[in-house]
């Protein structure tokens, strides 16, 4: 069994799972309760927060726990809109955002906000000139998918930060769900980025925990309101076992991070090398993207067909993204890159985790080539 669908979700590592089990048995108190069980739970929560903050080079008071990446995206986008609408109603984003961002934008558009969706080139990157031209006096938010979930394009965060440096009142946000551990993220007090969204289940933590970085002093209205947890910014009883397990998973992810990134890059390189001589294989990812994601297709073969053929060999990959396995508006990244519909339909996404091996890639290549020969036989006549 080979699991190459790590951008959809990952397997919880045994060590992290053990943390989850332990915390749920030993620290079941409600962190908001004032008694000792609550206090213990609260202290554990704060130490998890401190650890996450340290790893991300930000302050503990700037870290908030949510239930998912989707919630983080919804919160920061709608929360910024609500908080800052008296200053303006213009927002800048890209055409290749995750649906959690894209659909939040659509909703705001219905409510009378104006959205500029920057185009991307063949590599999936925005143009800095287009960004500069898009900025207006009433722009309140600019948000970018740091690493695209369908084909791995990395946005030029340093250049974006440079441009936005001249406009300090615009909230600058990144969706870093696919980026964490894979690329350098310029976060911290001396950096321009104000807000970032992460999701634990993409890095071997249990599902159900997201992380939000919100720079001190930046105002955002809450999405979930109620008991006043997370300093009133995110109400609901804290998922302590999930949060502590996530902080452990983040620590594991960022241990020997450079080595791991190199490992991922090697896996990807081996994959590309192995397939590059197959004439009907088309790469939609460049070799400059994130080290763990490769998007490709076999001409004329629908992605679904390829996914199921690989599955028969116990190899698990996906069509472009798990939460939108259908074509249309949702799998818009490739279309936005100028790839025609017929080609975009052939795409599959192969996504690695640090636990995948060269041996698995070798096995994959062998299986892929056999499938390739079979599926492309018609072309050889």
């Amino acid at each position: 069994m080979i699991y190459f669908d790590n951008s959809a979700t990952t397997k919880v590592t045994p060590e992290v799972l053990k943390v989850y089990e332990k915390v749920s048995q030993r620290f079941f108190g409600n962190p908001s309760s004032l008694h000792y069980l609550g206090t213990q739970a609260h202290e554990l929560l704060e130490s998890a927060r401190a650890q996450v903050a340290q790893i991300l080079h930000v302050k503990p008071t700037e870290i908030y726990f949510t239930s998912s990446g989707t919630e983080g995206d919804n919160w920061l986008i709608k929360g910024t809109a609500m908080e800052k609408m008296r200053f303006g109603k213009h927002i800048i984003t890209t055409q290749i955002e995750h649906p959690a961002v894209a659909h939040s934008m659509d909703q705001l558009e219905h409510l009378g906000f104006e959205i500029t969706r920057l185009s991307v080139d063949k590599t999936g990157q925005i143009s800095i000139d287009e960004l500069k031209q898009a900025i207006r006096p009433d722009t309140i938010l600019a948000t970018f998918i740091a690493v695209n979930n369908e084909m791995g394009a990395i946005q030029p965060l340093a250049k974006i930060s440079e441009v936005l440096a001249e406009y300090p009142t615009i909230h600058l946000m990144i969706d870093a769900v696919q980026a964490i551990g894979k690329i350098d993220l310029p976060l911290g007090n001396d950096q321009r980025i104000d807000m970032a969204v992460f999701s634990g289940h993409k890095f071997h933590a249990p599902r159900g925990v997201g992380i939000v970085y919100l720079k001190e002093g930046k105002q955002v209205a809450p999405l979930l309101s109620g008991g006043g947890q997370e300093k009133g910014q995110r109400s609901s009883t804290e998922n302590l076992p999930g949060i502590v397990a996530t902080s452990r998973a983040l620590r594991l992810l960022t241990k020997d991070e450079m080595k791991k990134r190199q490992h991922l890059a090697q896996l990807t390189q081996k994959l590309r090398e192995g397939l590059k001589n197959l004439p009907y294989v088309q790469f939609f990812s460049t070799d400059k993207g994130a080290p763990h994601i490769t998007c490709l297709g076999i001409q004329g073969i629908r992605g679904e067909v390829l996914v199921h053929a690989l599955e028969a060999e116990e190899i698990y990959v996906s069509t472009t993204s798990a939460c939108s396995s259908r074509a249309g508006r949702d799998s818009s990244t490739l279309l936005a890159m100028g790839i025609v519909h017929e080609e975009a339909e052939t795409a599959i996404r192969i996504s690695f985790s640090e636990y995948n091996t060269m041996e698995e890639v070798a096995q994959f290549l062998q299986a892929f080539k056999a499938i390739y020969r079979q599926l492309t036989r018609i072309y050889e006549k």
């Binding site: 108190g29 008694h35 919630e71 919804n74 999701s199 249990p206 109620g226 006043g228 798990a322 396995s325």
Partner: protein
């Protein structure tokens, strides 16, 4: 399993420890079924099967259809979704909403937001027993009322509200009916069809399930916009990668409740009787807030005229006895309970002299005995 040897936990209404069978199910799911339930490959399909199985179990427990269950991140998200989206869905028909003065903050806060947007909210007070006057409720309903949100069971006093009567009344009027059943789901038998409920919120961590998962029941044929936007999960009604392990854990908690409900309730009734007996027996000066005959047996709210709740909590805490004043979720500070305020008025001495005791599956007769002994020393 849980290290409670030296301590006495009487705060089950704040949260419950997970049942060991729940933890086992969850860890098994994380180990063996880690596919994304929306992926099209076999791993995804297996996860999807587990997800739909859980949905069916949960639905059956309240006599709903599986497609009427939307899994969420907890009671708060369910409440927020029901209130905000329910009101917006009906805002073309009117802007009046009815609720009670004793709801949880997860209902009250979104209502405050709606008020700021121009909706009008009627907060029905409760009587001295904590109960809602049904006639009073009926009088509050107007032509332009679009939404009623009334909790099934109050989290501080345990009062049971007449959900079925309210549902029957509203069903003839095309008014959305939401109930926050976070404290009722599990111990009480809920039949959403019989009670004619349109929207119902529940949370797993109050019934020995995991924290961070809940559901919103939404009656078929009722359309409200989705709150969490993104992927197409939960029939496009709630985006976000499905939290399968927690959902499977929630299912297990429901099975566990279903199998043991009668026994748990009897256990709670016995413990409550014992508690009252011991308090009287030790000649402690106390009174019960509310009316026990209209309350769930595992929650009891006690008034100690001679002792400030804050001091009581601190002294109990030193003895490793966990109770609470008001609700845990009013995070971190003791302020006068809005529930007791509605029952007894702003000036009542009870506001600062009452604590909530809530019992559960792991509470023993000895716990109650020891608790009262300590009370005797400090009151």
């Amino acid at each position: 399993m849980i290290n409670m040897t030296a301590s006495i936990y009487l705060d089950y209404a704040a949260t419950t420890p997970m049942d060991i069978s729940v933890i086992e199910k969850m860890t098994d799911t994380m180990r063996n079924h880690y596919g994304n339930a929306s992926s099209i490959h076999q791993y995804g399909r297996n996860s999807k099967k587990l997800l739909e199985h859980a949905r069916k179990t949960v639905a059956e427990y309240i006599n709903a259809l599986p497609e009427e269950i939307i899994f969420t991140s907890g009671g708060t998200e369910s409440d927020n979704t029901a209130i905000l989206m329910g009101a917006h869905a009906r805002s073309d028909r009117g802007r009046h909403i009815i609720t009670t003065a004793v709801e949880h903050e997860a209902v009250l806060k979104p209502l405050k937001r709606l008020e700021a947007e121009g909706f009008e909210v009627t907060y029905l007070p409760v009587g001295i027993t904590g109960e809602l006057d049904f006639e009073h409720f009926k009088e509050a309903v107007r032509q332009d009322t679009i939404l009623v949100s009334i909790m099934s069971v109050n989290n501080e006093v345990g009062t049971i509200f007449p959900i079925e009567k309210i549902g029957a009344f509203l069903s003839e009027r095309d008014i959305l009916f939401h109930t926050d059943a976070v404290q009722a789901f599990g111990p009480l038998k809920i039949d959403v069809k019989k009670a004619k409920i349109d929207l119902l919120s529940a949370s797993a961590h109050k019934i020995y399930g995991p924290k961070g998962v809940g559901f919103l029941y939404k009656r078929k044929n009722i359309a409200i916009p989705s709150f969490m936007l993104g992927g197409n999960q939960e029939r496009k009604q709630r985006a976000g990668t499905e939290n399968l392990p927690a959902i499977v854990g929630f299912e297990q908690a429901v099975c566990h409740m279903k199998a043991n409900r009668a026994q748990f309730n009897q256990h709670a009734v016995n413990l409550r009787e014992q508690l009252i007996y011991e308090l009287n027996h030790q000649a402690i000066n106390f009174q019960i807030n509310g009316n026990l005959s209209q309350q769930v047996p595992h929650i009891i709210n006690l008034y100690f005229p001679n002792k400030l709740a804050e001091q009581l909590l601190i002294q109990l805490d030193l003895k490793q006895i966990a109770v609470s004043a008001g609700s845990a979720c009013t995070a971190g500070s003791i302020k006068p309970s809005h529930v007791l305020q509605s029952m007894y008025g702003d000036q009542s001495d009870r506001l600062m002299h009452s604590i909530r005791v809530s019992m559960g599956a792991f509470t023993t007769e000895k716990d109650i005995k020891d608790f009262v002994k300590v009370l005797k020393e400090i009151v």
